[in-house]
């Protein structure tokens, strides 16, 4: 359940099937003063977004259940989700869908922070 405080802060949704990466990125997001949401695959991400609209999604591509590309396809069809900024976090940039900014794994901390500051109204940092 998301608190009212978290709703007012910018929230960054980390979608990655690797728990340690999610944990690390969530910590990094919180360093910027934003709140972090997490999901282990595209389907779980849709569930999270049904309750809360993030200011930015950091999205892995290769995941079980629903891949990053499949999630993007669903979001494109949903007007409530279609305009949420997405940054692709991947180790295979060649396979990333065109038109999205890419954070190449292992991600550069400064690049992640820059994207969060650019797209979210965070109260700290």
């Amino acid at each position: 359940m998301i608190s009212e405080k978290e709703r007012t802060r910018g929230s960054v949704l980390i979608v990655d099937d690797d728990e340690l990466i999610r944990e690390t990125l969530c910590e990094l997001v919180e360093m910027t003063g934003c709140s972090a949401l997490e999901a282990a695959n595209g389907k779980a991400a849709l569930k999270v977004m049904a309750e809360h609209r993030p200011c930015l999604i950091i999205l892995d591509l290769l995941m079980p259940v629903m891949t990053g590309n499949e999630l993007l396809a669903v979001m494109r069809q949903d007007p409530a989700l279609a305009d949420i900024p997405v940054v692709i976090s991947t180790s295979a940039p060649n396979h990333a869908p065109p038109g999205f900014p890419i954070l190449r794994k292992p991600v550069n901390i400064d690049d992640v922070v820059a994207w969060i500051r650019r797209t979210c109204r965070c109260t700290e940092g």
């Binding site: 690797d18 690390t24 901390i109």
Partner: protein, 441 residues
């Protein structure tokens, strides 16, 4: 033909030929005395043949008609017949009918005052076994008159010469037949060998295709393995590196742990580079090769200058000189940077501390040329070629200065993906040079 009755049973050309050769005055007299009868051979045959064979009754009636047709002044006078019917039957392939007709003629010859001149074309006896048939024809006749001009020669010496010449031609033909038979035999043998070779070739192609399929399947497995390995190693490395950088940024590392922290960081970065190389290797080995995304034309100079700066910073004991002239190229900047970095790292890494490495970039011979020359370094040229082509040659790469020693191989694949080429030269006088040539924009 004086006084004889004459019957010509022939085709039109032979009838004409026969009459042309006859003594004109004798012929005229025979005509006047109605001693000459001309019949068409084909029409006469149609009267005699029932089914495929000459009918004895019809034949006897026909001969009786001929005998009775003698003019009143010449009853019982000798009858001379010139016949072409047996030859017609022979030429039509009905040899049995021809022999039967010969037998019927013979039966009447024995009973009547009758002489028969049978004409056979030599064309009907050109087969390999026709000599025996011709001998049978000879045996069935009291006289044989060849058509060769030897018959008409009055001078005995001249006739002997002509016969000798004919013998020579006969021997020559026999010899030619033998030669051709041998040739045919040889050809048959060669054809047999050819069929054998063809079968061996087909079997060989099938084996090669099977081996290729197995190799491709094995290669595909290796590439999938490398790709998955690279991907799965990246995630924990990503966590290690990002966490350590966050710790460093937050000053969470105690001063007494700094050295150990830096060792872990350096090892992680090195491992990350190896994982990237594994990933690149998997991509380079796909049929499409390393994928590049070429941007707008850009000057190579800043890119090479930046790399030189980075390598200088990481290898302060080496001297790296740079001579750069602007040159525009279409490149995937990130990938090309990687290629140049790999070349320079290899060169610097294999040089002694304090040695000089010279980097040049600029247009030359309508190409953009980047050279990296280690002046004091001599590497056996064949070894350099192996390093550039190690995976194509199936050669185990030697241990690298850093990473998996895939740097030169990947640099080559990147340059090739840009439509360029890379060369390695080495000599005691010039040191070792790695040269990249790219099309200018």
């Amino acid at each position: 033909m004086a006084g004889d009755r004459l019957v010509v049973i022939a085709t039109e050309p032979h009838t004409n030929g026969f009459l042309d050769r006859a003594d004109p005055s004798e012929l005229e007299r025979a005509r006047d005395e109605q001693r000459i009868t001309v019949l068409d051979a084909r029409a006469t045959l149609s009267r005699l043949i029932v089914g495929d064979m000459p009918d004895p009754l019809r034949f006897r009636n026909f001969v009786a008609e001929l005998m009775d047709s003698a003019p009143g002044d010449f009853p019982g006078s000798p009858l001379r017949a010139y016949g072409e019917m047996v030859d017609l039957l022979t030429r039509e392939g009905n040899v049995d009918a021809a022999i039967r007709l010969e037998q019927l003629w013979h039966s009447v010859l024995e009973e009547s005052s009758f002489s028969l001149l049978c004409a056979y074309r030599m064309d009907s006896f050109l087969g390999e076994n026709d000599s025996d048939r011709l001998l049978d024809v000879f045996a069935a006749h009291s006289h044989v008159i060849p058509t060769e001009r030897v018959v008409g020669l009055a001078d005995p010496q001249q006739r002997m010469r002509e016969i000798a010449l004919l013998q020579q031609r006969g021997r020559m033909l026999e010899s030619e037949v033998l030669r051709r038979q041998k040739l045919e035999h040889t050809l048959d043998g060669a054809l047999g060998d050819l069929h054998l070779l063809e079968a061996q070739l087909v079997a060989s192609i099938e084996r090669e295709q099977q081996a290729r399929c197995e190799a491709l399947s094995s290669d595909a497995f290796q590439e999938t393995f490398l790709g998955v390995l690279g991907h799965d190693l990246r995630n924990p490395l990503n966590t290690i590196l990002v966490t350590m950088r966050m710790m460093a940024r937050r000053n969470e590392v105690a001063p007494e742990s700094q050295a150990r922290f830096q060792r872990i960081m350096a090892s992680s970065v090195r491992m990350q580079r190896m994982v990237e190389q594994l990933f690149d290797l998997a991509e380079a080995r796909t049929p499409e090769g390393i994928q590049i995304s070429v941007g707008e034309a850009r000057d190579l100079t800043p890119l090479v200058t930046n790399i030189v700066g980075e390598v200088r910073a990481s290898s302060p004991s080496r001297t790296i000189e740079l001579a750069a002239s602007p040159c525009l190229v279409h490149i995937d900047a990130e990938r090309f940077e990687q290629a140049v970095w790999n070349l320079l790292s290899y060169s610097v890494g294999h040089s002694d501390p304090g040695s000089l490495t010279r980097v040049e970039v600029g247009p030359h011979d309508e190409k953009a040329v980047v050279t990296v020359r280690a002046a004091d370094q001599t590497i056996d040229a064949s070894r350099l070629q192996v390093l550039l082509n190690s995976f194509e040659l199936g050669v185990e790469p030697e241990g690298g200065v850093d990473g998996l020693a895939l740097g030169l191989y990947l640099a080559k694949r990147i340059v090739v993906a840009h439509g360029g080429r890379i060369e390695a030269r080495s000599s005691i006088e010039m040191g070792t040079t790695l040269e990249v040539r790219l099309p200018l924009a």
